[in-house]
């Protein structure tokens, strides 16, 4: 594929990578190929200034103290950015990774909360990422709060939501106002489509900019070095998107 055109996944990786600018240590959790690629791209672009810890990777994960080290690191302020998703996400940035229905009697079960209830509170720049942009995902109020978007005064909380990236758009989050604001809409989509597919209220500027596409040199990096690095942990994704096997 030429660097004049890009795949949807490549655009999303670029949007997430821009959000990691200046972060010293970014960690990536389970089932996160696009955030993983973004972290590896940000590291490559930083020329070594950004460190990366990809859960499940051997080559791109420095931890030697077992599964707990990521969490201990986060509580000490040693992790600058992390990604979280959600089966449901609401307008106050509460996320639900548990299921839909009247807990514990659920109609739909998701895998579970993983480390979200902790990392959302402690990592300064948490980037919410969910590719599916629909009213099924972006709801007025989540069924179950795996991790709250905001906390009452007096609760120890150096961390929280910074931005939300979806298959259609990018939003910023204002923690004081507990509200998202539409920041840009991806090429091929428009603000009306975003509004139609979002089940919660958010702020929207009169003119919404288009999301900046990935520059050609980022695409070259992604399709070469980054695809190879990612294939170790996400072979299915790397093969489907980049046609790349593990290096």
């Amino acid at each position: 594929m030429s660097t004049e055109t890009w795949r949807r996944e490549e655009l999303l990786i670029a949007v997430l990578a821009r959000l990691l600018d200046g972060v010293e240590h970014v960690a990536v959790g389970a089932s996160s190929p696009i955030p993983g690629a973004a972290a590896l791209l940000a590291r490559a672009l930083s020329k070594g200034a950004t460190r990366v810890s990809v859960l499940g990777s051997r080559r791109h994960n420095p931890f030697t103290e077992g599964g707990r080290e990521l969490f201990d690191c986060a509580a000490q302020g040693r992790i600058g950015a992390f990604f979280l998703g959600g089966g449901e996400i609401d307008g106050e940035a509460n996320i639900n990774l548990v299921g839909m229905g009247d807990y514990p009697r659920l109609d739909v079960r998701f895998p579970g909360s993983f480390g979200s209830a902790y990392l959302y509170m402690l990592v300064p720049r948490v980037i919410l990422f969910r590719e599916e942009h629909s009213r099924r995902v972006f709801v007025p109020r989540v069924n179950f709060i795996s991790a709250p978007g905001t906390s009452e005064p007096g609760v120890y909380r150096p961390g929280g939501p910074h931005a939300l990236v979806t298959g259609l758009a990018k939003f910023d989050f204002d923690r004081a106002r507990r509200r998202f604001a539409l920041a840009s809409v991806h090429p091929g989509h428009d603000a009306a489509e975003v509004a139609a597919e979002t089940g919660f209220d958010y702020d929207s500027p009169a003119a919404v900019p288009a999301t900046e596409p990935p520059p050609p040199e980022w695409l070259e990096l992604l399709r070469g070095r980054i695809a190879g690095e990612l294939a170790e942990t996400y072979p299915k994704f790397a093969s489907a998107v980049f046609g790349k096997a593990a290096a």
Partner: protein, 275 residues
Amino acid sequence: MTATQFVDLEQLAGQLPDGAFIALPPDYSNVPMALTHALMRRPVRDLRLLCVPTSGIQADLLIGAGCVASVECAAISMGEQGPAPRFTAAVVAGRLKLVDSTCPAIHAALQAAEKGLPFMPLRGILGSDILRHRPDWKVMDNPFADTPDPIVLLPAIRPDVAVFHARWADRQGNVWIGRRRELMTMAHAARRSLVTVEAIFDGDLLAEDELAAGTIPGIYVDAVALAPRGAWPMGLADLYAPDVAHLAAYAKQARTDEGFRAYLAANHLEPSLVD
């Protein structure tokens, strides 16, 4: 304390009592699949699973085969292959007693157990519905702070048995796990550890620092069985990768009860007919 026993795989599976509270490693860390298969053939019953802190096909198989009474976990998922099908079906059907947790809470509660402490405080979690549904977790104010500072307290978790796979055990029962130190915490916290290994190490794993630093001393290891490729279809670092095609086929096939039964039959995982 007695010396580590060396037994065969079926004997190792036989040492796990029905109803035991057992700690399982996560998918990236030495999953004892051959032992799991032996437990299903036995079949074991009423296990109470503690996923440290998550699980995949290992928990899914045990749940689907009717070996499980309850599960405490931060998540059960097949990662890139999608949802864990039998776990998901059992929860929606209301057949599984499930205690939702979060990864660092499971790690921290095991650390309390390995220190012999009654509880461990942990940051975060406040405001999560997980906490609302955990009557066993408490919130208190940090006694060292000048202003109110609520913090969550978790009771120690002491599993009956930790099970995991490893590359080597030596003849003294020392087990090499490399950097997979959640297995060390599991072995410290659990009353007993039952371990499968790729091979017996002909020498002393504690003799040189290079290997000793990644070795669980035999004092924590009750029994060891040989199980070459004993993590399959999961992988074992540096030796073999996960069998992605097999895992993908399972994730798809086990979406239905019939598909799951067919998988068990094809892989010889049904309860053994001979006693």
